[in-house]
C-alpha cells in the first residue's frame, strides 16, 4: 500500500486531455467550484499550437495560503489522454493519486507502485446513459468532475449553481449536465473512498475576481478611451482583441442609434495594423494594437516612425516563447530588449510590466494616458501566462472623476487666442511639444509629419546641429517618462540584509511565495518589483544598497538586467541573473532552488542551519 498524500486546500490537480474534446469547460467548472467554496486556485492551460487532437493539460493549484504561481509537481493526475499516459503518470508526486477511466483494464506495468490509483469506468457510465457521440464526449467530462467532487469532498451545490449560471438562457442543458455530474458522484460514493486530498469551505477568496489578463487588458483599453484597434491574429494575443470587441459591444454602442463609438479593423498583417494605429493616433483617436513577439518584429519600422515623429500609440505585446516562431503556446518574458529599443537608429520606448490581470486592466488604461502625455509608442508587456490563463485578481475599480489625459494638444481656441504652435519645440523643459489634430484651424496649427529629420517647426532639415538638438530633446522626454511609469514596488525583509531580488510581471506570485519561504528559513531578501521601463531612480538605489541583487526573469539572456545595466551604468557584477526559460511558468520551487544555491556559494546559509 503506497503512502497517501494528505492535504486540505493545498494541492495540485492536473488534467491531461485531448485538444478539442470539450474538456476545457469541464476543467474550468472544477476550478471555479473550488473558488466558490472560498478557496483560492491558480489555473493554467498548457496547450499545443493545434485545434484538435494533440495533448493539452489544465493544471489547478489549490492554495489556501493564496499562492497563485505555478507550484510544480502533481498530487492528483486526471489522466484522460492515452497519448501522454506514460509522462503523466511519471509526473505524479510519490504518494499522489492517479485518476483514470477504468472502462478498459490496464496492465499493472502502466502504473507505479508509489502512487494511489483511482479508476472510474467513465466511458462505461457515460455510454449507458447517453447515445449521441458528441454528448458522450462532453458528458464524460462532467462525469469526471462529479467523481472528483466526491473524491475531494467538494461542495456539490457550488457546482450545480455554476452549471445553472453557465447555461442560463439554454436551460434545457442544465438538467443533463447535473445528471451527468451526479452519475460521477454516485459512482464514487458507491464504490470508492475519499482521497487524502480534500477541499474544505473557506473564506480566503474574498472579493477577488477570476479572469485572464487578455480580457482584462481589452477591458482596460475600453476604460482607457481607445476608439481604434487594428490587429492581426497571433497566439497568444488574439483573445485580447476579441475581448476589446466584446467589451465595446457591451459598453460602447450609442443608445440612440445603435452605432459604435469604436472601430476595429483586422489588418492584413502586423505592418498594416500598426500603420492604422499610427494614422488614427496622429489624427487624435486613442489607438492600439495587440500582438506577440513576431508581430513586434514586423512593426519595428513603424515604431521608429512613432518615436521620431512623436505619435502616441499603444502596443500590447503578449509575449510567448521565441525566437522566430518559437513556442507559440508557451510563456516567456523575452521581448524586452526587442520592444525597448525597437527600430533602427537611436530609439527607446516606454514599457509597462503588469503582474496579473488586475494590473493588465489598470496599466492598459494608463498606457493611453502615458502615450498621449509623451507622444510616443508605449508597450504593455503581458505574457502568455498572464494573458491566457484565468487568475484570481483584485476586483476592477475605476475613479469616476478620472478624465482621459490627452497630453499637450492645442485646440482651435488656443490657436485662435494666439498660443504659439511650434510642433517639436520644448517650451516646458519636459521634452514634449504641443501637437494639433488635423483640421483644427483654417490657418494656424498645420504641420507636416515625417520620419525624416526635421527641425522644431517640423520642417525638413538635415542640419547636424538641428538634428542633435532634436534627438537630445527626445532623451529629455525619456527622463519625463520615468515619472509617468508606475513606480516599482518594494518589499523589505524583516531584517537588514545585503541581498536583494528584482523581478516583474508574471514572476510575481511565485516570487512572493519564494520570499515567504526564505523568510521562514531565516534567509532575508529585500525585494523590488519593477513595473515598467525606463526604470525609476529607486531601482538604481535599490541595487546600490545591496552587495548583490538577484534578477529573476523568464528569458535566457537576462534581458531586463541588460536594460538595467545599459541604462544606469550599474556594475553588472552586482546583479546576478536567475533565469527560467523552458516555456513553462516559473515556480517558487525553481526560484528557491536557484537563489539558495547562489547564496550557498556566497556562504549564506539558512539561519536554522547555522543554529544547528
Amino acid at each position: 500500500m503506497p503512502q497517501q498524500i494528505a492535504a486540505t486546500n493545498d494541492f495540485v490537480v492536473k488534467f491531461a486531455n485531448v485538444n478539442g474534446s470539450g474538456s476545457a469547460s469541464a476543467n474550468e467548472l472544477f476550478a471555479r467550484s473550488i473558488l466558490r467554496m472560498g478557496v483560492p486556485v491558480a489555473s493554467r492551460n498548457i496547450f499545443p499550437s493545434n485545434i484538435q487532437g494533440l495533448p493539452t493539460w489544465y493544471e489547478v493549484r489549490i492554495s489556501a495560503a493564496g499562492h497563485l504561481g505555478r507550484r510544480g509537481g502533481v498530487d492528483l493526475m486526471v489522466a484522460m489522454n492515452p497519448q501522454t499516459w506514460g509522462a503523466d503518470v511519471a509526473e505524479i508526486e510519490p504518494g499522489g493519486y492517479l485518476f483514470y477511466d477504468s472502462t478498459k483494464p490496464m496492465p499493472p506495468s502502466k502504473f507505479r507502485e508509489d502512487i494511489n490509483v483511482v479508476g472510474v469506468p467513465l466511458t462505461d457510465i457515460c455510454n449507458r446513459a447517453f447515445t449521441d457521440p458528441r454528448q458522450r464526449q462532453l458528458f464524460k467530462n462532467i462525469i469526471y468532475v462529479g467523481a472528483l467532487a466526491a473524491l475531494l469532498n467538494m461542495d456539490v451545490t457550488a457546482i450545480e449553481t455554476l452549471i445553472a449560471e453557465q447555461f442560463q438562457g439554454k436551460d434545457k442543458l442544465i438538467a443533463p449536465n447535473v445528471k451527468a455530474l451526479h452519475m460521477g458522484i454516485d459512482h464514487v460514493k458507491e464504490h470508492l473512498a475519499p482521497l487524502g486530498l480534500r477541499v474544505e469551505k473557506s473564506d480566503k477568496v474574498g472579493d477577488r475576481v477570476f479572469i485572464d489578463g487578455n480580457s482584462a487588458a481589452g477591458l482596460g483599453a475600453v476604460y482607457g478611451g481607445a476608439t481604434v484597434c487594428a490587429w492581426y491574429p497571433i497566439t497568444p494575443s488574439t483573445s485580447l482583441a476579441e475581448a476589446f470587441m466584446k467589451y465595446c459591444r457591451k459598453f460602447r454602442l450609442d443608445k440612440a442609434t445603435g452605432k459604435g463609438k469604436y472601430a476595429i479593423v483586422q489588418g492584413e498583417d502586423e505592418l498594416a495594423s500598426i500603420g492604422i494605429v499610427m494614422g488614427a493616433a496622429w489624427n487624435g483617436a486613442r489607438a492600439f494594437t495587440c500582438t506577440s513577439g513576431p508581430g513586434v518584429s514586423l512593426m519595428t519600422e513603424f515604431v521608429g516612425l512613432g518615436y521620431y515623429a512623436e505619435i502616441p500609440a499603444v502596443i500590447m505585446d503578449v509575449q510567448r516563447g521565441g525566437p522566430s516562431t518559437g513556442m507559440p503556446t508557451r510563456t516567456q518574458q523575452a521581448d524586452l530588449i526587442g520592444a525597448a529599443y525597437a527600430s533602427h537608429g537611436d530609439t527607446k520606448h516606454p514599457m509597462l510590466f503588469p503582474e496579473d490581470p488586475g494590473e493588465c486592466f489598470e496599466m492598459a488604461a494608463l498606457s493611453f494616458d502615458i502615450a498621449d502625455r509623451l507622444q510616443t509608442p508605449v508597450f504593455l508587456m503581458l505574457d502568455l501566462d498572464i494573458g491566457m490563463n484565468d487568475w484570481l485578481t483584485k476586483p476592477f475599480t475605476w475613479d469616476d472623476k478620472r478624465e482621459l489625459d490627452r497630453g499637450k494638444v492645442l485646440s482651435y481656441e488656443d490657436l485662435q487666442a494666439g498660443k504659439e504652435f511650434a510642433r517639436y519645440t520644448d517650451f516646458e523643459g519636459d521634452g514634449i511639444g504641443a501637437r494639433t489634430y488635423p483640421g483644427t484651424h483654417p490657418t494656424k496649427g498645420s504641420y507636416f509629419t515625417r520620419g525624416s529629420s526635421h527641425d522644431r517647426f517640423a520642417k525638413y532639415s538635415e542640419n547636424g546641429t538641428v538634428y542633435v538638438e532634436n534627438v537630445t530633446r527626445l532623451l529629455r522626454k525619456f527622463e519625463t517618462a520615468k515619472k509617468l511609469i508606475p513606480a516599482p514596488v518594494r518589499h523589505d525583509a524583516k531584517q537588514k540584509t545585503k541581498y536583494g531580488v528584482l523581478y516583474f510581471g508574471s514572476t510575481t506570485p511565485s516570487m512572493h511565495e519564494a520570499l515567504e519561504s526564505f523568510e521562514a528559513q531565516g534567509i532575508h531578501l529585500n525585494a523590488m518589483r519593477l513595473r515598467g521601463f525606463p526604470f525609476a531612480d529607486e531601482v538604481e538605489k535599490f541595487v546600490l544598497e545591496h552587495d548583490q541583487v538577484f534578477f529573476v526573469e523568464q528569458n535566457r539572456d537576462a534581458q531586463c538586467r541588460t536594460l538595467l545595466v545599459t541604462e544606469t551604468g550599474l556594475d553588472p557584477a552586482r546583479i546576478v541573473p536567475v533565469l527560467h526559460y523552458d516555456g513553462t511558468p516559473i515556480t517558487a520551487r525553481f526560484i528557491i532552488e536557484k537563489i539558495s544555491a547562489l547564496l550557498k556559494a556566497r556562504n549564506v546559509a539558512a539561519l536554522r542551519e547555522v543554529a544547528r
Binding site: 459604435g260 479593423v265 500603420g275 499610427m278 488614427a280 489624427n283 476592477f396 469616476d400 483640421g439 498645420s446
Partner: protein, 351 residues
C-alpha cells in the same frame, strides 16, 4: 527645382473662390523635384481641384509613403496637415486617420514603387476595405529617387535609360483597383491637366475608395526612346474614353450634345458627373466590361484614360464598421469610459 522663394504678396485681382481663397491659398512649399517633373503637374491639378471645389484647405489630410511622389504633399495645400509616413505604408496610415475622423478629406499620394511593389498589399487591402479616400498613384514606371531602377508598373520590354530591357510583367494598377472593388477608378496623365482636374474633383466628392492611376513621366530617368512611360509614348498611345465635367450644386446643361454622347452620374453627395463619351460604347458603370475593355486595349499597346468606373452609391469602411456619426477623435471621457457601476456588475459576473 527652383531656389527662388515664392513671393508672399498676392495680386489683389487674383480670382477668389466661394470661401474667399485664391489659388495661392492652396499651394505649399516650393517643389524640390526635377524641373519638368510630371508630379509637379499633378500637384498643380490637386491645387486647382481643391480651389474649384471651394474646399477649406485645413479639412484635407495629405498622406504619403516614401519616394518622389510621396514628397509632393509638401508642395501643395500648405494649410493642411500632411503625413509623409513609411515606404509602402501610406494606405494603412490613411485608413487609421480616416477611422479617427470621418469628416476630413483624405488624399493619399503614392508612386508606383510605393504602391505596386513594397506597398502592393496595403494598396490592395485599403481598396478592398472601401476606405473613403482619394488614392493617387503618380506612375512613372521607375524608381526616381534611387536613380532609375525599373518599377513593377514598368512594361515588359520597356528599355531603361541605361539600355536594360525589363523582363518582368507589368502590374496594371487600374486593373487591380477594379478587381479589388474600388468604387471610383480613373486614369489620367500628368501632361493633360484639363482631363486630370475633373477626375480629381469627382474622386474627392466620391464616397468610398477612389483610385486614380496618373501616368507621370520621369524626366530624369524614364523619358527616353524605348520607354513606355515617356511623355511622347504616353501622348501617342493615350486613348481617352470620355471627358469628364464635375458639377456641384447646379443642374447640368446637356442641350449642346447629340443624344447618346453624354452621360450623367449623380454621386452619393449630390454632385453630378457629366461625361462626354469619346468611345461611344464605353460604359463606366460596368465594372466587368471596363476590365475587359482595358485588357483588350492594353494588349494593343494603348493606354486607356478617363473615368473608367464609378459606382455612385459606393459605401465606405465606416459604413461597414457602423461607427457613430461624430468623429471618434471628438469623443471624450463621458462618451468612452463606462465607469465604476459597469465594473461592479462585471466583477459580480467574474466571481
Amino acid at each position: 527645382m527652383t531656389y527662388i522663394p515664392k513671393p508672399k504678396l498676392h495680386h489683389p485681382d487674383l480670382p477668389k473662390n466661394k470661401l474667399g481663397f485664391t489659388h495661392r491659398d492652396y499651394e505649399g512649399s516650393v517643389s524640390t523635384l526635377c524641373a519638368g517633373c510630371g508630379h509637379d503637374s499633378i500637384s498643380a491639378a490637386i491645387i486647382q481641384a481643391c480651389f474649384e471645389l471651394d474646399l477649406p484647405p485645413h479639412r484635407i489630410a495629405k498622406m504619403s509613403g516614401i519616394g518622389c511622389s510621396s514628397k509632393t504633399p509638401d508642395y501643395f495645400l500648405g494649410n493642411s496637415h500632411g503625413f509623409n509616413s513609411v515606404h509602402g505604408r501610406m494606405p494603412s496610415v490613411l485608413t487609421g486617420a480616416n477611422l479617427a475622423n470621418k469628416d476630413l478629406i483624405y488624399l493619399g499620394v503614392s508612386g508606383d514603387g510605393d504602391s505596386a511593389s513594397i506597398g502592393f498589399g496595403q494598396f490592395a487591402h485599403s481598396i478592398r476595405r472601401g476606405v473613403n479616400m482619394v488614392y493617387i498613384v503618380e506612375n512613372n514606371g521607375v524608381y526616381g529617387l534611387t536613380k532609375g531602377q525599373f518599377s513593377a508598373t514598368s512594361d515588359k520590354g520597356s528599355k531603361s535609360k541605361y539600355g536594360a530591357l525589363n523582363s518582368d510583367s507589368a502590374i496594371d494598377m487600374v486593373a487591380m483597383a477594379l478587381q479589388l472593388g474600388a468604387t471610383y477608378v480613373a486614369r489620367g496623365f500628368s501632361g493633360d491637366k484639363e482631363q486630370l482636374v475633373p477626375l480629381i474633383k469627382a474622386a474627392i466628392n466620391h464616397h468610398g475608395a477612389a483610385f486614380i492611376d496618373c501616368l507621370s513621366p520621369c524626366v530624369a530617368f524614364n523619358n527616353h526612346i524605348g520607354s513606355t512611360k515617356s511623355f511622347d509614348y504616353v501622348r501617342e498611345h493615350n486613348e481617352s474614353v470620355n471627358k469628364l465635367d464635375m458639377m456641384v450644386d447646379h443642374d447640368p446643361i446637356v442641350a449642346d450634345y447629340a443624344p447618346g454622347t453624354m452621360e450623367l452620374v449623380t454621386q452619393h453627395d449630390g454632385s453630378v458627373l457629366r461625361l462626354r463619351k469619346l468611345a461611344p460604347h464605353y460604359d463606366p458603370n460596368d465594372r466587368i466590361a471596363a476590365m475587359s475593355y482595358l485588357g483588350e486595349r492594353a494588349a494593343q499597346g494603348e493606354i486607356v484614360t478617363g473615368l473608367l468606373y464609378v459606382d455612385p452609391q459606393g459605401e465606405d469602411l465606416h459604413d461597414y464598421c457602423n461607427t457613430i456619426d461624430k468623429p471618434l477623435n471628438e469623443l471624450g471621457t463621458a462618451d468612452l469610459v463606462p465607469g465604476q457601476a459597469a465594473l461592479d456588475k462585471l466583477n459580480e459576473d467574474l466571481r
